[in-house]
Amino acid sequence: MTYKTDTDINEISINTDVLVIGGGLTGVKSACEIASSGYKVILAEKGTELGLKNSEDQDLRDLIKKAASDSNIDVFTGTNIVSSAGTPGDYSIWLLKKDELFEKKVGSIVVATDSSIKVLDGEYGLSLSDKILSQSQIESILASDKEKIKGKNIAILAGFAQEGNPIVTQRVLNSVLAMEKITGCTVFVYINNIKVASSGLERLCKEGRDKGAIYFKLTDTPEITETDGKIKVTFIDPVLRNRLEAEHDLIVIEEQITADPINKKLAELLRIDLDSQDFLQKENVHMFPVRTNREGIFVAGLSRRVCNLANAWVDVDNVVLEIKKFLGNGTKKIPADKAVIDAEKCTICLTCYRCCPHGAIFWEGDKAVISPIACQGCGICASECPMNAIQLGGCNDSFISDEIKAKTESAASKPNIIAFCCENSAYEAGLMAESFKMQIPEGLNIIKVPCAGKIDLDFIMSSFAQGADGVLVMTCHTGNCKSEKGNIFAGWRVAEAQSKLDVIGLEKERLAFVTLASNMGKDFCRIVNEMEERLKKLG
């Protein structure tokens, strides 16, 4: 049996304007593409102008002109986001331009922040000088002042002060090729892992080498000293395995590309999750490529990871698809009872507001309200609400109680195991085990839930009360929950239930919390059989 999903449908009108935050190339391109799909765009840039200043590329300059002149794009430069409110399809954003504070209403938001560049000279115990240049400095010399490095012996240092990535590598490789074109330039590259995992980089690397660049691939940071106007690099040669010294006129220090410092503030303002490196998207496959934990808010380009322009453009196209799917023609059909709060029971304790991973819960007067558009139906709020005031339409408490009752009563075979399975992972793994004819205990009874976040403590305890010999709570792996935290909540509830089992004299081993993915049929099989074995021993 499965919970019903075809409830009454409400038609909701939504705002179809889009706010694009960040007027860099990704933001500008997003604005142009979204506008050309028929939506009005507000493009907010904190700096004084759009795009990259002095972009050499004519196409990119044209793109920026197009954004500035498109009647469907309202450009606000020198403008910061100061606060946001509302729900998907109806966001209110307060913008500050100089001293003027104003509100804009939009249906959807695209975040296209920049990245930040840090020179790693300090990490090498050096400081920039006329002989110690940063990657950006050498790039600008190569672009406009080539004479300056004619006849020089130049060393590039990369991959020791950071692990790096293909963008860092590409900058190095491009500089190598450009230097080789300059009369009398000799190029040495001291590098750790060469990050060639991007289209064309292996070829570029070979080209540089073929033209004469000398590579020393090292695992330990070379020692760098400056004497008599020369830079001396001392290192263990990996081929000859002896200590070598080399002198260079100039040394180029790698740069690290990190998340835009504004991301932290935007994450707070827009209530979207940051990842471990301060990018604006959790490393969660359900979000890839451009979604965030909040419906209608999307991320593109450098706001979500270090990438080149071609990859940022891939994001832009995906943002356009998401926007079209989300905004459509301005009406959305949404199930009427996805998750509903009983105003009589609600004491406005804020639990639901705090635990909702999708920012779907807000306040209207003196009661909590769930935005049906924002709600993803995970049920975390319903299970956490201390007043039991929230019910999911399809998978409500009485439905699950009936399931538990039916499955404990009808248990033909012992031991009777109730397995609460997240429909996104463990439930699918169970189906896989079944399809591939894996041996499953006869006493296993699966109860499907929309997310492990909807597995109440009560469900676990009442399963035991009604005669289950064992209970499994089977969720997604940490970091793979569609609602980010559903599995974490489930884990806490299992820990709590285990301590209660102790009190009532049941063995803790009768209850287990496990994580699985949809493609782990064999592991599903192993886990349920191990549980059966354990229960048989316990009797």
Binding site: K29, E33, S36, D59, D62, L63, E163, N193, I194, K195, V196, A197, S198, S199, G200, L201, E202, R203, K206, K217, T219, P238, R241, D275, S276, Q277, F279, E283, N284, V285, H286, F288, P289, R305, A310, W313, V314, D315, D317, N318, L321, K324, N424, E428, E434, S435, F436, K437, C476, H477, T478, G479, N480, A517, S518, N519, M520, K522, D523, R526
Partner: protein, 417 residues
């Protein structure tokens, strides 16, 4: 909605890129046809295992599973299995001639009971899909039909198998095409000195993926015992000037690191060595993940030249000591060759039929420096690894881009550049 007005798009290839592109287009009210030459959807991606340890490592194998489920449950997507493209003619739109192999197993009657597969006397004549979302879950290998004629007469309790069916031709008029024919995993036999297919305990990364997916563990092929000492050899078939493969396959370091961590997590006592040139990143979390790998795995910056069998089905690998250059010989229970991505076997054929250029390496070339989905022929788009090495997440994103650009093309929009 007037059905007549729907635009029609053909997606060539039912791997993760093709599935994603088809799924996105179907959400945009486009009539989509997936043409897949094998009898199963899902391509390589649905053969891959989950690489979570205590936590998800973002390999995206589960996303492929989910996308396959989406597509097979979407009645608006037309699926042509065991179908090849014969020719196209362009006259405004594209007129495609398809060559369909017979549907030996009737998908309407098959209940996926598996009787035919389990009892089949000829190994490999009846095939099983990799995903439970393959429908039907079984297929018949055309080349082996004559060997199982009698067996198939009454093996199926539903009468779903009929080997007398004939193939058919079908014409399809479409407004645009997405080429998502995928890649060919590098054939490790080409690196003869590694003894793949000669020594039982030398397997490929793909073999390890399938073993972990199907068995949840990786026993030694020779005796089914748990390997205590495992070597991964990176860059097999990639970054190899000798072979003319001047590209990084982008997926092998991530899958090798992640699977090494899975094995280590299952059996903390396992010793794992990784022979490499340069370690490539896994994602945003790489700096944290790599630190963990460094504490679990012995990294050796040296690509071994050969693998030599020794007793007890073990193999030995010789490499150079990092400190003094002396030769070290190490024995292993299992060696995993981290094979890479090479151009799809049909790329040449597709290039001719669809008049699209290939790049120097044999992947379908993108004509625009900033679009990874447009080709040299307007109206024909490329998605996924047909256009060059990509992981699952990138293939899906690239497929989204292709879908978006197809929509722009169908609406007659000029690309904004």
């Amino acid at each position: 909605m007037n059905i007549e007005l729907k635009k029609k798009v053909m997606v060539v290839g039912g791997g993760i890129a093709g599935l994603t592109a088809a799924w996105e287009l179907s959400k945009m009210n486009v009539d989509v046809h997936i043409v897949e030459k094998t009898c199963f959807l899902g391509g390589h991606a649905v053969k891959l295992c989950c690489k979570a340890t205590e936590e998800c490592q973002q390999c995206s194998a589960c996303s492929a599973e989910k996308m396959l489920k989406n597509v097979v449950n979407e009645p608006e997507i037309n699926i042509h299995l065991s179908t090849e493209i014969e020719a196209i003619n362009r006259n405004g739109n594209f007129q495609i001639s398809l060559n369909k192999s017979p549907e030996y197993i009737d998908s309407r009657l098959c209940t996926n009971c598996g009787a035919c597969f389990e009892k089949c006397p000829e190994q490999g004549a009846i095939l099983q899909g990799f995903s439970k979302n393959n429908s039907p879950l079984y297929g018949i290998l055309e080349e082996k039909i004559s060997l199982i004629k009698d067996f198939c007469k009454d093996i199926c309790p539903e009468g779903a198998i009929s080997l007398d069916k004939k193939g058919s031709s079908e014409n399809l008029d479409v407004d645009a095409v997405i080429l998502a024919a995928g890649f060919q995993p590098f054939d490790p036999e080409i690196e003869g000195t590694y003894g793949y297919n000669k020594f039982d305990n030398v397997i490929s990364g793909m073999d390890l993926e399938e073993a972990l997916r199907q068995n949840g563990c990786a026993p030694r092929p020779s005796d089914g015992k748990k390997p205590e000492k495992i070597a991964f050899i990176q860059c097999v078939g990639s970054r190899d000037e000798r072979l003319g493969n001047l590209w990084c396959s982008q997926v092998c370091c991530p899958y090798a690191l992640r699977m090494a961590e899975v094995l280590k997590n299952q059996e903390p006592e396992t010793k794992i060595f990784m022979f490499y040139m340069d370690i490539q990143n896994t994602g945003n979390k790489f700096p944290i993940f790599y630190e963990k790998c460094k504490s679990d795995i012995e990294f050796i910056r040296n690509i071994p030249i050969d693998i030599i069998p020794v007793e007890n089905n073990r193999v030995k690998i010789r490499y150079l000591n990092d400190n003094d250059g002396s030769a070290i010989i190490e024995e292993f229970d299992l060696v995993v060759l981290s094979i890479g991505i090479t151009p799809g076997e049909d790329n040449n054929k597709l290039s001719k039929i669809f008049d699209v250029a290939l790049d120097k390496d044999g992947f379908i070339s993108n004509d625009n420096k900033l679009s990874k989905s447009s080709t040299s022929n307007r109206g024909i788009f490329v998605a996924g690894t047909a256009g060059g090495p990509k992981n699952i997440a990138d293939s899906m994103a690239n497929a989204g881009q292709a879908a978006c650009e197809v929509l722009n093309y169908l609406e007659g929009k000029e690309p904004i550049q």
